[in-house]
């Protein structure tokens, strides 16, 4: 059994008080936070256990207890994700959680806290850093890690750093390969992680739609879409030989709307960039790119303008398109998302490289 070792491994490094502080803070927020009219999660309707806790008072008239069918869609998704997180910890020796600082990572981390409560999540977080993330993401990341007291590993591809690989000089394809795919493999190999949680969802992209929840990777981190293990019921096969690994996607069955709704109901902290605010941007190739720091080369005559924008997904700032928006609360974002006519990944430049680009990247080891 691998688990006790891992607990032992992290016990010394884990700030239990910090973690407890986060858990309590969350609980208090959920109970006390003053609620503005349309931006307010309905009382007694929080996802997960809280709803069932309150279910005695919200049960349908005539029934003393909640019927099983009374679990909401989000409660089911939450329970499924928790089941997945626990299976990995029970069956794998060295799990790690990929933390990309985005909203999906925030939800995944929140679920991990729930899954192992009252113990802290028995694995570290890994941020594969390209050095080109938004400054607000680094600030948010460091604050979250401090609050949770979890161990964070940050990995930057030293080779890429040495060669100064940047999205401006090397193009998005090479840059993504070196600073993300290769960097991820380096980090997984260096720490000998045998399972890595990722926040990808099946509704994001077509080749993701066909990926298993427990996705087997060869010792070279390759993904073979033709040889995926059949995944029946909720029986996950986590067995593998030394050197081989699993990518595990606890949010596989969540949609973008589910993620936002859960953030709204559970009051999960997310990077402020998701909310509309005045920000300096330039228009390039039909995409609004935020000028986040002085490394951004401006074309002759190109002048950043301040617009009220937000981001639907967060990645490296030179590759992440902003949208003009007035939405500055989770509910407003949901409203805007539901009325939107373009899909979430449109703002993400790497998918546009080729028709099957994501599938190809995944076969090469990209998350």
């Amino acid at each position: 059994m691998a688990f006790p070792d891992i607990v032992g491994h992290f016990r010394g490094k884990f700030d239990y008080d910090g973690w407890l502080w986060y858990a309590l803070q969350r609980a208090e927020e959920a109970c006390d936070m003053s609620r503005a009219a349309s931006d307010t999660p309905p009382p007694g309707h929080e996802a997960g256990g809280a709803a069932a806790a309150g279910a005695g008072t919200h049960a349908t008239p005539g029934s003393a207890a909640p019927a099983a069918a009374a679990l909401t869609h989000l409660q089911r998704l939450e329970a499924e994700s928790i089941h997945i997180l626990r299976e990995v910890v029970a069956e794998c020796e060295r799990p790690v959680m990929l933390y990309s600082v985005g909203k999906d990572s925030a939800v995944m981390l929140h679920l991990a806290v729930k899954a192992f409560y009252p113990a802290p999540p028995p694995f570290p977080l890994l941020h594969v850093d390209t050095t080109w993330k938004f400054r607000a993401m680094y600030e948010f990341r460091d604050r979250m890690v401090r609050q949770l007291g979890m161990r964070l590993l940050v990995h930057v591809n030293p080779e890429g750093l040495r060669l100064g690989v940047s999205p401006f000089t090397h193009g998005s394809q090479l840059y993504t390969d070196v600073m993300k795919t290769q960097a991820l493999k380096q980090a997984l190999d260096e720490h000998r992680f045998d399972a890595a949680f990722g926040g990808a969802r099946r509704d994001e992209e077509k080749s993701r739609a066909k990926e298993r929840i427990f996705s087997f990777r060869s010792a070279q981190h390759g993904w073979d879409p033709r040889q995926q293990r059949p995944e029946l019921w909720s029986l996950y096969n986590a067995r593998k030989h030394r050197g081989e690994s699993l990518r595990v996607f606890p949010l596989s069955n969540w949609t973008e709307l589910d993620v936002w709704q859960y953030i709204w109901l559970e009051r999960i902290p997310i990077v402020p960039l998701y909310f509309a605010a005045p920000r300096p941007v330039v228009l390039r190739g039909g995409t609004l790119i935020m000028v986040d720091d002085e490394r951004m080369p401006l074309a002759p005559g190109e002048q950043p303008v301040v617009k009220k924008v937000r981001f639907r997904t967060l990645g490296c700032y030179p590759l992440t398109g902003a949208i003009e928006s007035e939405a500055d609360t989770p509910a407003a974002i949901i409203r805007e998302t539901l009325l939107a006519r373009s899909s979430e990944r449109q703002g993400r430049l790497i998918d546009h490289d080729a028709v099957a680009s994501m599938e190809k990247k995944k076969q090469e080891g990209y998350f």
Partner: protein, 635 residues
Amino acid sequence: MTPQSDLIASDIGAYLRAHERKSLLRFITCGSVDDGKSTLIGRLLYEAKLIFDDQLAALEHDSQTVGTRGGELDFALLVDGLAAEREQGITIDVAYRFFSTERRKFIVADTPGHEQYTRNMVTGASTADLAVILIDARKGLLTQTRRHSFLVRLLGISRVVLAINKMDLVGYSRATFEAILADYRAFAARIGLSDVTPIPLSAVHGDNIIAHGPNMPWYTGPTLMQHLESVAVESDSGGAAFRLPVQWVNRPDADFRGFAGQIVSGRVKQGDRIRVLPSGRESRVARIVTADGDLPEAVAGQSVTLTLDSEIDVGRGDVIAAGDSPPQVADQFEATIVWLHDEPMLQGRAYLMKAGTRTVSATISPLKHRINVDTLEHTAAERLELNDIGVCELELDRAIPFEAYCENRALGGFILIDRLTNSTVGAGLINFALRRSQNVHWQALDVDKQARSRLKGQKACVLWLTGLSGAGKSTIANRIEKKLAAAGRHTYLLDGDNVRHGLNKDLGFTAQDRVENIRRVAEVSRLMVDAGLIVLVSFISPFRSERRMARELFAPGEFLEVFVDTPLAEAERRDVKGLYRKARRGELKNFTGIDSPYEAPENPEIRIDTTTLTPEQAAERIVAHLQALRVSGGA
């Protein structure tokens, strides 16, 4: 703007509250290749206005370049995500799609039609509440229609939509529709599918998808979307007795010991009396712990952590169940198996079986019959090939808590995993426990292996000699036994040829007979080791899997694998018994090294290179190894 988007625009809070209460329907689409499954789903998403503008633009572009509809919108391209699928115009893997309408949330598993991908179809079906089975109106019922219907029924999906597609290509003929329906109803009755809703469709043109359209005035039933939005969703097993398979023991400190898992059926309250299976120990629920606070009660579907009010031994794989109606515990079952792998399932081979949160070793013994899904006939078989379905008996190395699959999917469904490759090779459904398993109990004996070994002044073990025919196994084994006997050791030599004259004279040389041959010899060796003997086994034993199975019957250190390593060319040159010549002439079938594989050991305890050692030197080396291990007493 739809009424839905009006509400979103005017009162997002009200919309979200309504949205959250929507029920969820999980369904699969299946049928033969080219019946139009992907097109149907693409059409559903399109008609329900669920395609985003950029996706539509990409679809228009792709339809021009790789579409199969002459530049018109090819909806299949919306869901065929893998490059290989686009190139071949087929669906290889299950694709999950998510959409919601005003009434419901949906998760669709779009499953492949080619027979070689039946395993993916089974994957999609295992979590579905309803199946949409497509039929091409021009073709009527095909093998895949019957196969998928049978699998749907087998996996416990009771509701079926029979979507008779491509009606535009048969002139929207009512007679064609009625004829196919009559065929299908006859088949459905035989497999016990009663809830069948037939709908005539044209996925390409959109008839009867969302609205009825003008082409089939004779059809007055619901459109596909109307049906999907209104069909009753089966409720979870909330009414059944409480069961929670323990996933993980949560011990953050000495004071807290919680058992984490997802409730698979029933409900549990604080103070409930529970029983832990398989141990049978009882306790009461002290707390139902979640990060959102303790719960007074929890129901099927929820992931929780239970603490008990007494210190009893509970671990991963145990089932915490209602005290007054616990599940049964058994180690032998009849089960229905769907084989999912290219390597066939062999009788007598041991596989890993993951059932609930427990993984045990399971041996197929015997395979009772294979089911022909076309005719539903039961035929005798010794193996299951990819996509075969069969009924077999399973013997486990430990007793597990279980329920029949039809009673409880979570405690009755299992997967089989290959011990060497770790692939998921089969899916199974427990039908019932075999009576003999409930009545034959392990007899605890007072005089044990250690006592018997001590009497003989030795440590019992098995020396397992493996290698090609003619490698020199028997010669070396014979010399080892002579040396051990001379030293006063108690031994027995099991020789492949000799055992085949008696115990195993009913077995031939096919792969499954070889597996059974080794299983019996391994079990006999185990009895002899239990009797305190040093056992020499001299068998070709060509498959790694069976040697590993044999090894796992013994305590660590008891099983010593000796690889008598003679290259094929050398063994064939010696050909002491003239067998290689016969095999080369085709007079001997399934001869190891010629037309049946030999899988050399990867990490044998002892390797003997017979091209450099004489049999006497080999025997000396092995006896020395035993002495070093103090197996044969002080010496």
